[in-house]
C-alpha cells in the first residue's frame, strides 16, 4: 500500500474543557481531493488549523498528523515553519482579511517564495508575477505592485491561491475558499484551484459547507457533525448510497437549483460543543433514533454494501464508513437516474418533500418505523400557494401590491476635506421596474453590488425616489403624508438578514414581538404574541428569553414573528436565510412558504442564493449593475434563461449531485462585476458577455450603442438583451 501524503489519526482539539474536534481520522493520497463538509461549529476549520499547527492560543490538540510519514502535530514552531507553505499550504476563507493590508500583493507572494527558496529579490518578484499570471490575474506585472485593498474579493482569493502554490506543495488545505465570494466568482476561483492542482499535482483538502462544491470538485468526502466525522467515502457513495441520517438530512435540506419543491429540514439545531447530548450527538435530531442511540456514541464503521463489482483498494480506499447504529437500514432518497453502481436501482427517483414528510418516506423506504414528531411542519402547506401560476399562461389577474417603475438611486462620490467636490456617481439602482401581486413571491437576485438591497431600502423608505415611482398597496410614495406612511408601515413589514443584529439584545422575545403592536396601539399584546410565536413554530414559553439564548434559526423566526405582528399584506425579506446553516435554512424557507399561503402574504425576497430563491419564489428578477437583466416566472427562468447573464449565473451555481454537477456545462464569466461608478454606454454586461463575444461586428454595434430595455416574450418573461434567447 502506498504511503499517503497526509495521514490524520484520531485528532482531538479542545478549547479548555470544550471539545471542538473529537476524534478525526483521514488519509489523503497524492493528487486526491478530499471534501470535508459540515455546518458551522462542526469542527471542520479547527481540524484544518490543527493540521497546519495554526491553532489559536488556548487550544490543545492531540492525536497524530503525519505529513509524508513525519509526525508534525506538536512540532516546534521552527519545525512547522519548514513545512508550512512548502509541503502543505492553506487558502483561507475570507480573502478580504487574509492579506496583510500594508504590503504589495506581489511582495507578499514573493515573501512566500523567499521563505523556502534561496532566490534573490528580483527573481522572487518575477516568480510572483508568474504565479499571478497562472491564477489568471490580468496584467500581472502591474497588478503585483498593487495593494490588497485595490483588489476585488475574487482577485484576492486568486492571490491567496498563488501564494499557496508558490512552493509547489504536496497538500493544499482550502478552508471555505469560495464562501465569501459571489457565485460567478466562485466558479472562476474553483477553476483556478483546478488549474493549480494540475500545475502542482497537489492533493487538496476542500473544507466547505456547500454540498454542491464538493459534488463537483472532490473525489472523496467526509461529513462532520459535532466535532466528529459521521460519514466518509467516495463522493458517489456518500451522495447516492448515504448511510448516516445526518448526511441524508443535509442532502434533503439543501435548496437545489435543478429542482423546486419542498425542502426537508432537519429538526432542532446543532448541539453546542460544550453541551453535547449523551450518546450519538445527532440522536436528538434524528428521525431514526432508537434507545441505543442515547447510550453510546457510534464509531465510524465500514458500510456493508451489496458489492456489484470489486473496487480496487488504493490509499485511503474508496471505503465507505458511517457512524450510525442503523447505518444498514438507511436508504438514500437522493438519487440520480444515472448514478452508477446502485444495487437495487429504483425505477423513479423519490422527490423529497412533496407533502412535507419526506423524511418519513425516506425512512419508510428502508422499512423502519418513524417517530411521529419527525414529520415536518406545514403538512398542508405546499402546492396550494402556487395557485396563481397554476394556469400556466402568465395571466396574473390579482391586484398589485407593489409597483416599482423606473426606480433610480444614485449616490454622489465626493473627494477632498476642505473643499468637497463631486468626482463621480455610484449608480446603485439605475432604472428598475417590476410589480408584485397579491399572494405572490418575487425574488430579487443578483451578485453583491448589483443594487438589490438598495432597491429594497428605497421601497422601505416610503418617500419620493430620486427618479421613478414606487407605489405600495396602490399608494404612490411621493404623495403620502406622515400619517399615511405610518398606516402603510402596518401593511409593509421587513425581515432582515442577520437575525442577531436585527433583534435588540436587551429585549425579551416577548417585547420584541410586542413592540410593533405597542407602536401601533393594538391593545394588550400578550395573547397575540403567544399566537405569533406558535405561528412561526416557536414554543410560546420562549417569550421570556433573550435573543442570545436562542439559536440562529429561532432568532430568525422571532424576526418573522415580529414582521407578522401587524398582519401585513406585503413582507420584504432581505437575505432571510443567508446567515443560517443549511439544515436550519430549510425549516425557515418552509415556514415562509406556509405563512404565505396561510396568511395570503406577498413577499419581496432579496437573495444572492439562486437555489434558495428557486424554492420560494413564483417570479424572479435578476439584477445586474443596478438594472434588471431578466424578470419572469421562476420555473421558466430557471429552465430556460433568456439573458446571457442569467444563463451564466445559473450555470455557476453548483448542484449537490456529483453526476449532474460533473456533466454540467459551466459558463465562466471573465473579470468581476463592474464598479458602479462608470457611466456605461450601451449594454452594461457586454464586457463580460459570452454572447457578445460571438456576435458579428454589425450585431455588436447595437450592444455598444444602445442600452437594452426589457423585451417581453409571450409567457411573462422579459430580458434586457438585444439578442435574448426566448
Amino acid at each position: 500500500m502506498i504511503e499517503p501524503i497526509l495521514r490524520v489519526t484520531d485528532l482531538h482539539v479542545s478549547f479548555g474543557a470544550v471539545p471542538a474536534v473529537r476524534g478525526m481520522s483521514y488519509e489523503l493520497a497524492a493528487g486526491e481531493v478530499l471534501g470535508i463538509v459540515g455546518e458551522s461549529g462542526s469542527g471542520k476549520s479547527v481540524a484544518a488549523l490543527a493540521v497546519m499547527g495554526l491553532l489559536p492560543r488556548g487550544a490543545r490538540a492531540s492525536g497524530s498528523v503525519r505529513l509524508r510519514g513525519t509526525e508534525i502535530l506538536g512540532a516546534t514552531d521552527k519545525g512547522l515553519a519548514a513545512y508550512r507553505g512548502k509541503t502543505i499550504s492553506m487558502v483561507f476563507q475570507d480573502p478580504l482579511s487574509a492579506l496583510t493590508p500594508v504590503y504589495r500583493v506581489g511582495d507578499q507572494i514573493a515573501e512566500a517564495v523567499r521563505v523556502h527558496q534561496r532566490t534573490g529579490r528580483g527573481q522572487a518578484a518575477r516568480r510572483a508575477v508568474e504565479l499571478l499570471d497562472l491564477v489568471g490575474i490580468p496584467e500581472p506585472g502591474r497588478r503585483a505592485l498593487a495593494f490588497p485593498h485595490e483588489y476585488s474579493g475574487g482577485m484576492r482569493q486568486r492571490a491567496m491561491i498563488a501564494m499557496a502554490i508558490a512552493n509547489d506543495p504536496d497538500v493544499i488545505i482550502c478552508d471555505e475558499p469560495t464562501t465569501a465570494l459571489d457565485v460567478t466568482v466562485q466558479a472562476q476561483v474553483l477553476e483556478v484551484l483546478k488549474t493549480a492542482r494540475g500545475e502542482t499535482g497537489a492533493a487538496i483538502v476542500m473544507i466547505t459547507h456547500d454540498l454542491g462544491v464538493v459534488a463537483g470538485f472532490a473525489d472523496r468526502m467526509l461529513v462532520m457533525y459535532a466535532g466528529r466525522p459521521v460519514e466518509t467515502g467516495s463522493v458517489e457513495d456518500v451522495y447516492y448510497r448515504t448511510r448516516m441520517p445526518y448526511t441524508l438530512g443535509l442532502l434533503g435540506s439543501v435548496p437545489r437549483l435543478d429542482r423546486g419543491g419542498r425542502l426537508v429540514p432537519i429538526e432542532g439545531h446543532p448541539p453546542s460543543p460544550g453541551a453535547l447530548p449523551p450518546g450519538c450527538a445527532f440522536q436528538p435530531r434524528c428521525p431514526m433514533a432508537v434507545a441505543a442511540c442515547g447510550t453510546a456514541e457510534p464509531v465510524l464503521e465500514p458500510v456493508l454494501e451489496p458489492v456489484l463489482e470489486p473496487v480496487p483498494e488504493s490509499v485511503g480506499g474508496p471505503r465507505h464508513l458511517a457512524a450510525c447504529f442503523r447505518a444498514a437500514e438507511v436508504r438514500s432518497p437522493v438519487r440520480s437516474e444515472n448514478a452508477p453502481g446502485e444495487g437495487r436501482a429504483r425505477p423513479e427517483p423519490i422527490v423529497l418533500g412533496v407533502d412535507g414528510c419526506g423524511v418519513s418516506r425516506a425512512v419508510d423506504a428502508g422499512g423502519v418505523g418513524v417517530r411521529p414528531e419527525s414529520v415536518v411542519l406545514g403538512v398542508d402547506g405546499c402546492g396550494v400557494s402556487r395557485a396563481v401560476d397554476a394556469d400556466g399562461v402568465g395571466v396574473r389577474p390579482v391586484p398589485v401590491v407593489l409597483e416599482v417603475d423606473g426606480l433610480t438611486r444614485h449616490y454622489p462620490v465626493t473627494k477632498g476635506t476642505l473643499l468637497r467636490r463631486r468626482v463621480g456617481t455610484v449608480r446603485a439602482v439605475d432604472g428598475v421596474t417590476f410589480d408584485l401581486r397579491e399572494g405572490e413571491t418575487l425574488g430579487l437576485v443578483g451578485e453583491s453590488g448589483c443594487g438589490k438591497t438598495t432597491t429594497l431600502m428605497e421601497i422601505l423608505r416610503l418617500v419620493r425616489p430620486a427618479a421613478g415611482r414606487i407605489a405600495v398597496l396602490g399608494r404612490d410614495t411621493a404623495r403620502v403624508t406622515a400619517a399615511d406612511r405610518m398606516a402603510i408601515r402596518r401593511d409593509l413589514q421587513v425581515v432582515f438578514q442577520d437575525p442577531m443584529a436585527s433583534l435588540d439584545p436587551r429585549m425579551t422575545v416577548h417585547d420584541i414581538v410586542a413592540e410593533p403592536l405597542r407602536a401601533h396601539r393594538m391593545g394588550r399584546p400578550g395573547p397575540r404574541v403567544r399566537e405569533l410565536l406558535e405561528l412561526v413554530g416557536l414554543d410560546p414559553d420562549h417569550a421570556a428569553r433573550y435573543p442570545r439564548e436562542l439559536s440562529g434559526g429561532q432568532r430568525q423566526r422571532v424576526g418573522i414573528a415580529r414582521a407578522l405582528a401587524l398582519e401585513p399584506r406585503l413582507v420584504v425579506l432581505d437575505e432571510p436565510v443567508s446567515a443560517l446553516d443549511v439544515s436550519i435554512q430549510a425549516g425557515v424557507i418552509n415556514l415562509l412558504d406556509d405563512l404565505r399561503s396561510r396568511l395570503g402574504l406577498s413577499y419581496l425576497i432579496v437573495a444572492h442564493d439562486l437555489a434558495v430563491v428557486r424554492h420560494i419564489a413564483d417570479r424572479v428578477a435578476v439584477m445586474y449593475s443596478g438594472r434588471i437583466a431578466e424578470i419572469g416566472r421562476a420555473d421558466r427562468i430557471y429552465a430556460a434563461p433568456a439573458h446571457p447573464y442569467t444563463e451564466a449565473l445559473l450555470s455557476a451555481v453548483p448542484v449537490p449531485d456529483p453526476v449532474v454537477e460533473r456533466s454540467r456545462r459551466r459558463i465562466l464569466l471573465d473579470g468581476d462585476l463592474p464598479g458602479p461608478m462608470g457611466r456605461p454606454s450601451g449594454c452594461r454586461f457586454r464586457g463580460r458577455c459570452p454572447r457578445f463575444a460571438v456576435l458579428g461586428a454589425g450585431e455588436r454595434d447595437r450592444c455598444v450603442a444602445e442600452e437594452p430595455e426589457i423585451r417581453w416574450s409571450g409567457g411573462d418573461q422579459g430580458a434586457a438583451c438585444h439578442y435574448a434567447s426566448f
Binding site: 488549523l49 497546519m52 495554526l54 489559536p56 514552531d77 521552527k78 515553519a81 519548514a82 513545512y83 508550512r84 507553505g85 512548502k86 499550504s89 492553506m90 483561507f92 475570507d94 482579511s97 487574509a98 492579506l99 496583510t100 493590508p101 500594508v102 504590503y103 504589495r104 515573501e111 512566500a112 521563505v115 523556502h116 495593494f147 485593498h149 491567496m160 501564494m163 499557496a164 508558490a166 512552493n167 477632498g416 476635506t417 476642505l418
Partner: protein
C-alpha cells in the same frame, strides 16, 4: 497623490493655527492685567507714563481690545510677536527657550513612544503572562502619579544613587554645568548626565499610555487572518508577529503621536520647573504671573504650531505606513 494629501492637510492646519492663536491672544489680553504691574510699584508712576509705556508695548487696556488685536496680528504676520512686559523682544526670548524645550521633548518623546510600543507589543503577545501583568500594574501606577510627584521622586532617587556610587552621575539641575571646561566629548557627557532624569520623567508617563494603547492594538491584530496567512507561508511566529502584526498595529499608534505631543508640552512645564530647565513651559507659567500678554499668546502659537507639526508628521507617517489612506 501623497503630496496632494499632505498639502490639503497643511492648508487646514494653517487655518487652525491662526484661529487658535487669535483666541489665545484675545483670552490673554482680556483677562491679564499688565497695568497692575505698575500699580504695585513704589513710588507709583504717574498714569500718563504708564499709559505711554503700555501703548508702546501694545498692552494698554484703554485702547479697544480689537485694535490691540489688529496691531498684534499685523506684527505676527510679519513674524514679530511684540515685546514682553519688560520691553524685551518676545522673539529672541522664545527662540532661546524653544530650543531647550524641544531638546527635552524630542528625547522624551522618542524614548517614551518606542518603549511604550515595544512593551505593549510584547505584553500583548504574551497576554496575561508575567510581563503583561507587571507592565499593566506599572503603567497604571505611573498614570496615577502626578508628574510633580514623579519628578521629585526621581530627584530623590538620583541623589540616593549618586551617594551610593559616590560620584555625581545623575545631575538634577539645569541643562549644562555652568563654566564647564573640556572637549566636546566632556560637554556631551555633561549634557547627557543632565538629560537622563528629565527624559525619564517625561517618557515614563508617555510609555505608560503608549504601552496600554499598543497592547490593545496588537491584541486586535494577533488573531487577524493575515497573521495566520503569514505563518501559513512558512514564516516563524516571531517574524510573522513583527513583520505583519506589529507593522500593521503600529499605524494607529503613530496617529496618536500627534495628540500626545500636545499633552507633552504641558507635561514639560512641571519637568522644566523641577529640573531647572529654562524652557517654554517654565516661561508660560512665569508670563501668566507677570501679566505678559504677548508672551502668553506667542507660546500658545508655538504650542499650536508644534501640535500641528506633530499632526502633520503623524499624517505623513500614517500615509507612508498605510497604503490605504493614500487614496483619501
Amino acid at each position: 497623490m501623497m503630496a496632494g494629501f499632505l498639502l490639503r492637510r497643511l492648508i487646514n492646519y494653517v487655518v487652525l493655527i491662526a484661529v487658535a492663536t487669535s483666541l489665545a491672544y484675545l483670552l490673554a489680553a482680556g483677562t491679564l492685567d499688565p497695568r497692575s504691574n505698575y500699580q504695585e510699584r513704589n513710588p507709583r508712576p504717574p498714569e500718563s507714563v504708564v499709559d505711554a509705556r503700555l501703548d508702546d508695548l501694545n498692552l494698554n487696556d484703554k485702547s479697544p481690545l480689537f485694535t490691540r488685536y489688529l496691531t498684534w496680528a499685523a506684527g505676527v504676520v510679519r513674524g514679530d510677536f511684540g515685546e514682553t512686559v519688560t520691553g524685551d523682544s518676545v522673539n529672541d526670548d522664545l527662540r532661546r527657550r524653544a530650543g531647550v524645550t524641544l531638546r527635552l521633548m524630542l528625547t522624551g518623546l522618542a524614548v517614551g513612544s518606542v518603549t511604550g510600543v515595544l512593551v505593549g507589543a510584547c505584553a500583548a503577545v504574551r497576554q496575561y503572562g508575567v510581563l503583561d501583568r507587571v507592565t499593566t500594574g506599572l503603567s497604571f501606577a505611573v498614570l496615577a502619579i502626578p508628574t510633580v510627584v514623579l519628578a521629585n521622586m526621581l530627584v530623590i532617587g538620583a541623589t540616593w544613587f549618586n551617594d551610593l556610587v559616590g560620584a555625581k552621575v545623575l545631575l538634577v539641575s539645569g541643562e549644562v554645568t555652568p563654566g564647564l571646561t573640556g572637549g566636546w566629548l566632556a560637554r556631551l557627557l555633561d549634557r547627557a548626565q543632565h538629560l537622563v532624569l528629565p527624559t525619564i520623567s517625561l517618557s515614563l508617563a508617555l510609555a505608560a499610555v503608549y504601552s496600554r494603547y499598543q497592547r490593545n492594538l496588537m491584541l486586535d491584530v494577533l488573531g487577524a487572518d493575515f497573521v495566520r496567512t503569514a505563518m501559513a507561508k512558512g514564516l516563524r511566529r516571531r517574524t510573522a508577529l513583527v513583520k505583519h502584526a506589529l507593522r500593521t498595529a503600529v499605524i494607529p499608534a503613530v496617529t496618536y503621536f500627534a495628540f500626545t505631543f500636545g499633552t507633552l508640552l504641558v507635561g514639560t512645564t512641571f519637568t522644566e520647573k523641577i529640573f531647572g530647565w529654562h524652557g517654554l513651559g517654565e516661561q508660560l507659567i512665569d508670563s501668566i504671573f507677570t501679566n505678559d500678554v504677548n508672551t502668553v499668546a506667542a507660546i500658545s502659537c508655538v504650542a499650536a504650531f508644534a501640535v500641528l507639526v506633530a499632526a502633520l508628521a503623524a499624517d505623513a507617517l500614517h500615509a507612508a505606513l498605510d497604503p490605504r489612506v493614500r487614496a483619501g
